[in-house]
Symmetry: C2
Subunit: 242 residues, 2 copies
DNA sequence: TAATCGGGGGTACTGAGTGCCACACCGAGG
DNA sequence: CCTCGGTGTGGCACTCAGTACCCCCGATTA
């Protein structure tokens, strides 16, 4: 199911009819890659996707958001993962595993990730938007570490520093892989990078248990009446990916 | 001279007539604090400042940039500081000192910094813009560390991780101080926070020399014909602050 | 068939940001 | 004296992102 989900998210192909959200993402990337981000207007995207202009903003809060359609769901995944983490385990290992969730998302669609990287690298607006995405991941990791280090006097400081270090190490390996065009094994590269953080900040030798058992079959999405569509979709995506 | 510069930068007061840039910053903050950032239009700002609308964008590239009028100059200061750093010194200590340059800027105008913090905290657009500002600092620090760690096999990774850790520690102490309304000594708080980074990543016991001798009297600003005004201003500010 | 509800389309509007031109000022030179 | 080039500024018009509002259509229910 996870693979089908990934497929629908970016390519829109598969068995069923592609959703409007997928059609918008596909049309946007087609135009962005051929004529650039700033040279493409919302009207261009919606006319290619064959939908109304108003519908674009039902699924994406801004023009930049369509470039990162999967991060909202991944952030929710990370939050759920950390909430279910073993309270006795090494928190540094846990946030490293949480970061690996993001990596899996990138590695799941190498072509899409590399194309987005090339786009993001040369469009300042997208680079800034990506910063806000990364920032939310970092704050989520820091929040988890803060609760675990609550007993320490410098707990909050340690939490912020370790979260920043984990994100930096993760991004270092990820960007190196993206720069190479998606060649080689990202997984081990990220493992090596995160190892540096674990060696300096981790507990030392903790049991690598941390088993997470999520076996839910039914997904419930609760939202206020009037909630924008894109927020509902991200909630559903997050729930489905668990 | 540095103090006069700080004064002119935010309050516009002092001996000489306030520049147009200062008038715009002052008018913008007056309106932002009384009716909010999003409720204030560029027309409101320029009409209060008594200048034309077109002139605003001559000095600031966007509406958000007027909230951070001093960071461009501070970034140039940091770049110059690191370029003049002792090649034999502890690079971790050096980037910590570079981060202290940013702190000095905040501590130089507590009222302005606290007001901006309150504004930034509750306006998403400004929070994102601040992220891009912090990101440029972090990349500058990482660039310095990369050249110093070029010999190590994991030099680039270490550089990115340490830069992220320094920024996180710096921001931890700074935000705590800003949240308190500017009470207490930020300097020692940042020192304590950065000490955690130095203790884990620094050389251990290096000589605290790092003397920087900048005694230039003449400032030369070179720019292409047609360079936007705000870029020229940021260059001059950066040169004057050295 | 009428009523209701929710998703989608269309229209008009606000406001940020840009390009272009006109005007005012100022020093240099005929 | 007038002219010329350069520079800083204001004004006008334009594009486009994002939003508010209303209408249409299809599906469900009485």
């Amino acid at each position: 199911m996870s693979e089908v989900h990934e497929q629908e998210r970016t390519a829109g192909g598969g068995a069923g009819r592609p959703t409007m959200r997928d059609a918008l993402v596909e049309a946007a990337f087609e135009l962005f890659s051929e004529r650039g981000f700033e040279q493409t207007t919302i009207d261009d995207i919606v006319s290619l996707a064959g939908v109304g202009r108003r519908s674009f903003f039902r699924y994406f809060p801004s023009k930049e958001a369509v470039v990162f359609p999967d991060h909202d769901g991944c952030l929710a995944d990370m939050t759920a993962f950390l909430a279910a983490a073993d309270p006795a385990g090494d928190p540094v290992e846990q946030v490293c595993d949480a970061a690996r969730l993001v990596l899996r998302m990138y590695a799941g669609n190498p072509a899409f990730s590399v194309g987005r990287y090339r786009l993001t690298k040369q469009v300042p607006t997208l680079r800034i938007h990506e910063l806000s995405v990364v920032w939310r991941y970092e704050r989520t990791l820091a929040g988890h570490l803060r609760t675990r280090y609550a007993a320490r006097s410098d707990g909050a400081l340690r939490a912020d520093v370790i979260a920043a270090a984990v994100v930096a190490a993760h991004n270092f390996a990820l960007r190196s892989w993206l720069r190479s065009g998606g060649e080689g094994d990202v997984g081990t590269a990220v493992d090596e990078a995160l190892q540096l953080v674990v060696d300096t900040w981790g507990d030392g030798a903790a049991g690598t248990s941390g088993g997470s058992s999520q076996d839910d079959e039914v997904v419930v999405m609760v939202a206020r009446r009037g909630t924008p569509m894109w927020r509902v979709v991200q909630g559903v995506e997050a729930a489905l990916e668990g």
